[in-house]
Amino acid sequence: MSDDLLLSVRGAGKRYGSRWACRNVSFDLHPGEVLAVVGESGSGKTTLLKLLSMRLALDEGSVHYAARPDGSGPGGLRDLADLSEARQRMLSRTEWGFVDQNPRDGLRMAVSAGANVAERLMVLGAEHYGRLRDEARDWMGRVELAGDRIDDMPSEFSGGMQQRLQIARNLVTRPRLVFMDEPTSGLDVSVQARLLDLLRSLVDDLGLACVVVTHDLAVARLLAHRMLVMKDGAVVESGLTDRVLDDPHHPYTQLLVSSVLMP
């Protein structure tokens, strides 16, 4: 089984001053698996996501990732802290994606949609303008954006479209692992539903592994195979999504599940 691991987290923790924002988090993630991290705000979800994606440094524990072998190092399960900075940055822009909660954080607002989508390819050294545009158009189509808006600025797009643009921008290098921080929380309900549909089909088609941080249990139910429930920086419950949501064990999870409003 361990040959098949994509991400292995052991005792991960991050401290701000003397306060632990999250601590003692351990889990494994397999290729193609979607893991939801739920919990109330302030429970350390986003901090955990930033630790996994190396946007923040660990204060304790470790994160191992099964990198593809390439010119800059061997493959196999590697401790991310041991990778050179060049390799880390390369990983985070080829094999990984990061979808911010607010698309304005994840997009370059001063350049057109096409440039946003093609940026990662250019960082990797693509130097053919026509092919960059074809690729950008193709990915805009996959996230249901009209190809003729390729030269429009992100600010001319609606919130839901910006979020889809951000997803296209991340998927253009065909990553294996995508981190999402509340990908649907800024959107209205109908747009949320369409975005979730889209995410689900992309995850299926591309075999993406995802770590999705959300406070919305419906998102977890729709997307995730497994979930972690966090409270006060610690994981209080983990398991298959349906099991956790239908038969919550921990009192906090029971509270969380029972406090969802039903229309």
């Binding site: 900075e85 060049a86 350049v111 250019m122 053919h128």
Partner: protein, 315 residues
């Protein structure tokens, strides 16, 4: 270049000019040595920006204080100095800097490209091909090519160290997408020796090909930003472009209105108040037009005391 003096490098060699006593080349020897040391590092890593302790100069920032400090640290008594501003020897910046060095070093100055051993320039590379042994000193306002694309200095240093230059491609992509062509016509970004992204200073992109494999040593000084960088002789310099949108230089429909040159960089000059315009060579030394006043005898090498009388075309 020839050393500042035959004596030990740190011994001041004063120029006596009336009541003013300056060290040779204005800067003190310690500073000159420090700048030369930084230049050595810059030459060793082509295109890499090397910080240096820039000094206050008796000119405001933006008038070439970086270039002046480079020139001052290199110039020796045997050198012949040429200073150009936008290609012209007779414009204010060029006259001032030439006079500054004439007064603080007493070296010979010239307007002839081929006779100069050091050419300090603002915004142009001379049309005449440079030869081995010459030094071209550029005045640089903003040494960081990623300026305006990435505002954090620490981040640009990281991008340079990891050779991550996708950001510049994004900018060029955006130019083509919005304007149909790469709109940058000056300060056009180049990659030096296949490694460092470099600002060639605000020279027109017309001059970019001259940077490539130049036999002359090319030094860049940014006084306000306190950075030096260099392109050693015979170093490949590539102007960034896309495979299907290759780099191109400017072309003009007409030739120089004074000398008829069809190969040089042309300036558009308004000549009357009725909309009359003409195109003339920006490089006044290259322009052999009749309006160019030139001393026919003495190979245009001027006495140390002054600036040339008249180099401005009088149409």
């Amino acid at each position: 270049m020839t050393g500042p003096s035959a004596s030990t490098p740190l011994e001041p060699s004063a120029i006596h000019q009336g009541e003013h006593d300056y060290n040779f080349g204005f800067l003190d020897e310690q500073t000159k040595r420090h700048i030369r040391r930084a230049l050595l590092k810059a030459v060793a890593i082509p295109g890499c920006q090397v910080p240096f302790g820039g000094r206050e100069m008796p000119l405001p920032y933006g008038w070439g204080t970086g270039g002046i400090q480079v020139t001052a640290s290199l110039i020796g008594r045997e050198d012949v100095l040429k200073v150009i501003d936008q290609g012209a020897d007779g414009t204010v910046n060029a006259v001032n800097i030439r006079r500054f060095f004439a007064r603080t070093t007493s070296v010979r100055t010239t307007t002839r490209t081929e006779l100069a051993s050091i050419i300090q320039t603002r915004h142009r590379i001379p049309e005449k091909a440079l030869h081995e042994g010459q030094i071209l000193v550029f005045q640089v306002p903003m040494p960081e090519p990623l300026f305006r694309l990435e505002p954090r200095r620490a981040e640009t240093i990281k991008l340079h160290s990891l050779a991550e230059y996708g950001l510049m491609s994004v900018r060029l992509y955006e130019d083509i997408a919005q304007l149909g062509a790469i709109s940058r016509t000056y300060d056009y970004p180049v990659q030096v020796n296949g490694r460092y992204l470099m600002s060639p200073s605000p020279i027109p992109k017309f001059d970019n090909p001259k940077l490539h494999m130049s036999p002359a040593l090319q030094l860049f000084g940014a006084g306000r930003e306190k950075r030096l960088y260099a392109v050693p002789p015979y170093t490949p310099v590539r102007s960034l472009a896309f495979d299907d949108h290759p780099f191109e230089v400017q072309r003009w429909d007409q030739a120089c209105g004074l000398c008829g040159s069809a190969v040089s960089f042309l300036d558009e000059v308004v000549i009357d108040d009725a909309g009359g315009r003409m195109f003339v060579c920006s490089d006044t030394d290259h322009c052999s037009g009749p309006g160019i006043a030139r001393d026919p005898q003495s190979a245009e090498t001027l006495a140390p005391s002054g600036a040339p009388a008249s180099l401005v075309p009088s149409p």
